[in-house]
């Protein structure tokens, strides 16, 4: 470990790098009393579980040599909600709401991925309009997630007004999502085999207006921060995770692309209609905080491109798959006929059966590869509902990433990999 990560050390550090390899007084460090803790200037700093710099509830303990992190230790589980266990105890239909609470910054992507996973097990193809709406949802959520990530990363490093630009635009996006499904954050928009409701008339037009505004705002944000000298000093060359380490620690998404690991499941394993739209995958080379920030900024622009294409190409049509197993009965039938009422009752109380089989369905979520590994043994509940959240793997890479960095850069590094407690702890 020390061998491969030694290249991550900053070369301009005033301390002797070679000395960090074998700290001799490790054992004694935690046992000494306060008087001699400064003996060799090693201090233990505990950040979290509730700390403004930790976005969510997790904990990071860093052993400092002066101002430099020698080793860190990350702990989490403070928001563990047993979603995988609940997946085994709730019906497939009921589990939709739990997927919202995975990555709550981009709940729509989780909804879409989960719906795809179950549909794949059942062999259901949703109609074209539903697919386009799902794609738009995914991209809208991606823009929101990236805006939050770069905004909060900037707040942590002192650029407060930058955050407000992004947040303002995000509120407008939430208004769009509210029109779609009535909720702002936890949307539960998709259903197995379709969508909760159709997009209202003129939604695409409003979306296009929002896209136009957001383009300007993103350009403005770009001008405001990207070439700012302080920002560049705080981010360039900080917390480098190179390509090899990204593979070792299973980094995906923007964090991996910032290090030159050119994987984007939207392009490489296109689901939905991603093979029919035109977009680029931004890739940077260094893998430092700046690259992670800038890849996200570029991805916002690409997502806006995809959104424009989707809004142009979407047509009227059905939003439910022609499959009686998963179709929620029409309200008209439920209220007026006995059979409809029974159907409704059976659908929501006992759920629908999913045929035997197992599938791992990945999708490029805002943070990286989100995958649902569902093992079905028949019946209305899953035998195993594994959720592969990208943050789990990214947070693991935090320790090698920040070794040899200054303690203040821990905040920058953590903000840039965008660890979301919901999908980290599940």
């Amino acid at each position: 470990m020390s061998d491969s990560n030694s290249k991550n050390f900053r070369t301009d550090s005033p301390l002797d790098i070679a000395r960090w390899g074998n700290p001799s007084s490790d054992d004694a460090l935690l046992k000494r009393d306060n008087d001699d803790i400064f003996e060799d200037s090693k201090v233990l700093v505990n950040i979290g579980p509730t700390h403004p710099a930790m976005h969510g509830a997790f904990r990071c303990m860093a052993k400092l040599n002066g101002e430099i992190i020698e080793k860190s230790y990350c702990e989490f589980g403070y928001t563990h909600r047993g979603k995988e266990k609940l997946g085994e105890n709730r019906t497939y239909h009921q589990f939709v709401v739990y997927t919202d609470r995975l990555n709550y910054c981009s709940a729509l992507i989780n909804n879409v991925t989960y719906a795809m996973s179950v549909e794949r097990l059942m062999g259901i193809e949703v109609p074209e309009r539903a697919v386009w709406i799902r794609m738009m949802c995914a991209e809208l959520a991606r823009v929101i997630d990236h805006l939050i990530c770069v905004g909060i990363n900037a707040v942590d490093l002192g650029a407060f007004s930058y955050f407000l630009y992004g947040y303002h635009q995000r509120e407008k996006a939430y208004t769009l999502i509210e029109k779609l499904c009535g909720a702002r954050l936890t949307t539960s928009y998709t259903r197995i085999g379709g969508l909760m409701s159709d997009a209202p008339d003129g939604w695409e037009r409003e979306l296009k207006e929002w896209i136009k505004e957001t383009r300007d705002v993103v350009d403005e944000m770009d001008r405001l921060l990207t070439e700012n000298r302080i920002w560049m000093k705080r981010t360039k060359g900080v917390a480098i995770m190179n390509r090899e380490d990204c593979i070792k620690y299973s980094f995906t998404g923007p964090n991996a692309r910032a290090a030159g690991l050119d994987v984007d499941l939207r392009r490489d394993q296109p689901s939905m209609f991603y093979d029919k739209v035109d977009f680029d995958v931004p890739v940077a080379q260094t893998g430092d905080v700046f690259d992670r920030y800038y890849v996200r900024m570029e991805e916002i622009r690409q997502s806006l491109n995809i959104l424009t294409q989707c809004a142009d190409r979407i047509k009227k049509g059905p939003i439910w798959a022609d499959d009686k197993r998963t179709r929620i009965p029409e309200k008209d039938r439920v209220y007026n006929t006995m059979e409809g009422l029974i159907h409704h009752f059976k659908f929501f109380m006992s759920g629908f059966d999913v045929p035997k089989g197992e599938a791992y369905t990945p999708f490029e979520a805002a943070n990286g590869e989100l995958g649902f590994y569902i093992v079905s043994k028949g019946g209305p509940t899953a035998h195993r509902m594994r959720i592969r959240g990208p943050s789990f793997w990214h947070y693991q890479g935090l320790d090698p990433m920040i070794r040899g960095e200054y303690i203040a850069d821990l905040v920058a590094a953590l903000g840039s990999i965008n660890v979301i407690a919901g999908e980290l702890d599940r």
Binding site: K71, H80, R120, M122, G123, A359, Y360, Y373
Partner: protein, 186 residues
């Protein structure tokens, strides 16, 4: 209509795209490690979405090394376990992806209750936390793991929540915060 129904909008064309590649992997593995592979499930025939190889525990490391270095499956996508409630009780599930072809395979290893598994950290550093999570949730021990402790639950927790015999509402209340383990930063 089940997992083998081709759906274009959800990776449905994978059988055409990766069909030959999957066959090559399966043939290569059976040729090189005839002893190590207990069973092979291929998509289209069995109810799986990607080739699934059941490996023997003793030779799993060698096969995974071969998959990583020779066949190019160098990216550990996911590492988890399932409680099958059968003998042997647990299946370790490893999802691998090839970064060059984006082809995926699934490896399964059967483990009895209390049986130990050699760690995979030497192959992928990222397996560290995944193994800790499996230990936390299923109680599977990993031999040679440098830091096998609970990861999601409190360290004073008893039992392993994702085992099928653990109750859904098996609360355990602690009145003090989780103590700091002085061994952590060694």
């Amino acid at each position: 209509m089940n997992i083998n129904t081709p759906i274009h909008t959800i990776y449905g064309y994978f059988n055409e795209k990766f069909g030959t590649e999957w066959k090559v992997v399966a043939e290569s593995l059976t040729a090189h490690f005839p002893e190590a592979i207990e069973a092979t499930l291929m998509p289209g025939v069995a109810d799986v979405d990607m080739p699934t190889f059941f490996l023997k525990k003793d030779q799993a490391h060698a096969v995974l090394q071969n998959l990583k270095d020779v066949l190019g499956f160098n990216f550990l996508t996911d590492y988890t376990a399932t409680d099958e409630e059968l003998e042997p009780r647990f299946h370790l599930v490893i999802h691998l992806m090839s970064l060059s072809t984006k082809c995926r395979v699934r490896i399964k290893i059967k483990l009895a209750d209390q049986e130990k598994m050699p760690t995979l950290i030497s192959l992928w550093e990222g397996a560290n936390w995944a193994e800790r999570e499996i230990y936390d949730m299923f109680g599977i021990h990993f031999e040679g793991h440098p830091d096998l402790r609970r990861i999601l639950m409190d360290m004073r927790w008893e039992g392993h929540p994702l085992r099928k015999d653990y109750p859904l509402r098996g609360y355990q209340v602690f009145l003090t915060p989780e103590p700091l383990d002085p061994e952590l930063l060694k």
